[in-house]
Symmetry: C2
């Protein structure tokens, strides 16, 4: 553990969140120095502890998206638990939560209540549908965000039903939008002393990143369908080599298109009226794709990569996790790190991004056991005695 | 235009970037108050101006992911253009760039040079593969990030080749990771006066959000394949109703699983040893999915939604853009906004997210014509005379 300064040193976050979007936001902040205290229901904990592969009681997914946190148990349904939150809030800069709208209010922990306790507080609220609007009470996870946000509809082959977008993009994107919003709100707070709250939703993160799709429908009434390249104006996609590997290339700029056509043995195509500009190209994209299919089918993987590299066309193999683990670039970038994990020694996880030159983030430990830091927080931060802690525990509050 | 304070007021960003990741990062900051000056090559401009649907010379995609910016032309290849950058940098807090590693160095605009001019500078550098490692010089766009980062491999139906992830997630996610990194670096700068640079890459954004996939391979040697639910431990997916609509549901927690089984007419399943816990459930997930298929096939869309709502199971129709435009929740949340756009009146675009209660972001105008604000920046910020500007223009520098 390095003693080096990190940019969020001194920021304390109280995380009342589970599954992915909120926890990922908390971990991102914790990697860059924030002290993140996460509460979980006694005896049960975050649902993510039971999702995906589990080894000796540790969910790999919980372990990666809750790293660097202090984990305490707390029953928010009960007045004793709510009281602990109210005692923690004056010590915190940020509260991060993902209950459905109204739940924290019912417990006396809504924005008005917490803001009254700590006027400098930033409160980030993540839900599936946002804090307002007719669907605000609807439950949801990333899949619901993708479906309602429009990204599921355009995913997968054109002749198949829409395919589930994987991984859970709306969760991670909402975590990122929220982390940016929190940083912006902290900046305003530092300048003025004023706290505020943030309304982030899974479906809006999906909808925001739909490229030109909203404008295309709004201006021209054209619904974007699956298939990927029909409006794109550039050739690209996945192609199978002679020896059954998959390679992706893309050529979204004029100079790349020209080099691509030369590489494919058709240097005349850029002057063909069907391909003269981005306006005509999409309608005839099939011609290029068919030529490319033949080109890849006639070459081994090694040969195809050699020619793509020589032509300086953007390309990559479609990497499975097995490919990734043996890749020298991942190794040189230290993108797979061994993270200390209670009971398991260590777990391989992705490294911290983005990489900051002077105050880089770091990973200290994976998401730990339920209640691992309960006593530390209650005694250290709140100054509770051993007796008081024992009473909270025997009452089932922590 | 509201005069209301925004959290990034007073921050000036010089954007030397094009296509999506860098420009989206710039626009996100501009929505929250940063003054973002974007440079584009005279006579050509950002390649995004020629990608996707174009109306009267305006690319819808450029318009949405370059909104709120000041746009100037500048030829960075030429000493005169490089000189203008060096004169702008002392006035800027952030430089955002996405050239391949070494290109800015070749032009005398690398980190060492810019940091010497402005020691408080934050420089965010976005590339496909990062600033180091054997592949650092490789060109790339989102498709390459998805393929190399591992997300393309797991996308699409199990019995088909990997399907192109759409929209261009690595671009947007890298823009978000970078925006977070910039905010963190600005926080450190405000505290210490020290600038620094940020290394962000498209493929690492994809790789970071792979859920439990890295750990699953590293610990157990299991390569995650397409198909979506084989390790998930919970039922869900897209199902077709009697009247041919698609609905997604998901039930990733025990209480949801129990309610789901009851709704499907099989309240006994949660006590069946095949479904007792997240450990066994994935292996028998097909049983539940088949029951669900039959259940949806026997119901109209309206009836299915009514029952899902009554059971409080997370669900959503798979929304096309046409569905989104007529949806009352989108309307109530003001998620589709009419954005002033030069020459076209206005363009429908997604609203600003996340929603901040006290200092919300806002959209002032869509991405405008090439060089729209060149004179304003050269005269206003750098104090150049009309003659000097005319000379730069006749020399083709701007």
């Amino acid at each position: 553990m390095s003693a080096r300064r990190r940019p969020l040193d001194g920021i304390r976050v109280l995380e009342l969140a589970q599954v992915v979007a909120g926890p990922f936001c908390g971990t991102l902040m914790a990697e860059f120095g924030a002290e993140v205290i996460k509460t979980e229901l006694p005896g049960r904990g975050d649902d993510l502890r039971r999702l995906g592969p589990v080894e000796d009681g540790t969910s790999y997914w919980f372990a990666v998206d809750n790293r660097n946190k202090k984990l305490m148990t707390l029953d928010l349904h009960r007045p004793g638990g709510q009281d602990v939150v109210k005692r923690l809030v004056p010590h915190c800069d940020v509260v991060l939560e993902n209950f459905r709208p109204g739940v924290l209010e019912k417990w006396g922990l809504g924005w008005d209540a917490l803001h009254a306790i700590n006027p400098r507080l930033v409160m980030a609220r993540i839900t599936a549908f946002g804090q307002t609007g007719p669907l605000r009470d609807g439950p949801g996870y990333a899949a619901i965000g993708s479906a309602f946000g429009g990204t599921w509809y355009i995913n997968g082959p054109a002749d198949r039903p829409p395919a589930r977008p994987t991984p859970v993009y709306p969760d991670y994107m909402t975590g990122l939008f929220t982390a940016f919003g929190v940083m912006a709100a902290l900046r305003h707070r530092d300048a003025t002393g004023e706290g505020q709250w943030i309304d982030a939703s899974l479906y809006e993160s999906a909808f925001r990143v739909m490229e030109y799709t909203t404008t295309l429908y709004g201006r021209q009434g054209v619904v974007r369908e699956r298939g990927g390249l029909q409006h794109a104006g550039w050739p690209g996609g996945a192609f199978q080599t002679q020896d059954d590997h998959w390679i992706v290339f893309t050529a979204p700029a004029q100079h790349l298109f020209e080099r691509l056509c030369t590489m494919l043995g058709h240097p005349e195509l850029p002057r063909d009226p069907r391909f003269a500009s981005g306006r005509e190209r999409p309608q005839h994209i099939g011609v290029i794709l068919e030529i490319a299919q033949g080109w890849f089918a006639a070459r081994t993987f090694d040969k195809a990569v050699e020619e793509l590299r020589a032509a300086d066309i953007p390309h990559s193999p479609i990497m499975s996790m097995a490919d990734i683990f043996r890749d020298p670039h991942y190794r040189a970038r230290q993108m797979i790190v061994d993270v200390p994990a209670e009971g398991l020694g260590s777990l391989p996880q992705p490294g911290v991004i983005p990489k900051l030159s002077l105050t880089p983030g770091r990973v200290d430990h994976a998401g730990a056991a339920l209640g691992r830091h309960t006593d530390e927080i209650l005694s250290g931060l709140l100054g509770l005695s051993a007796d008081e802690i024992a009473r909270l525990r025997s009452d089932g509050i922590v």
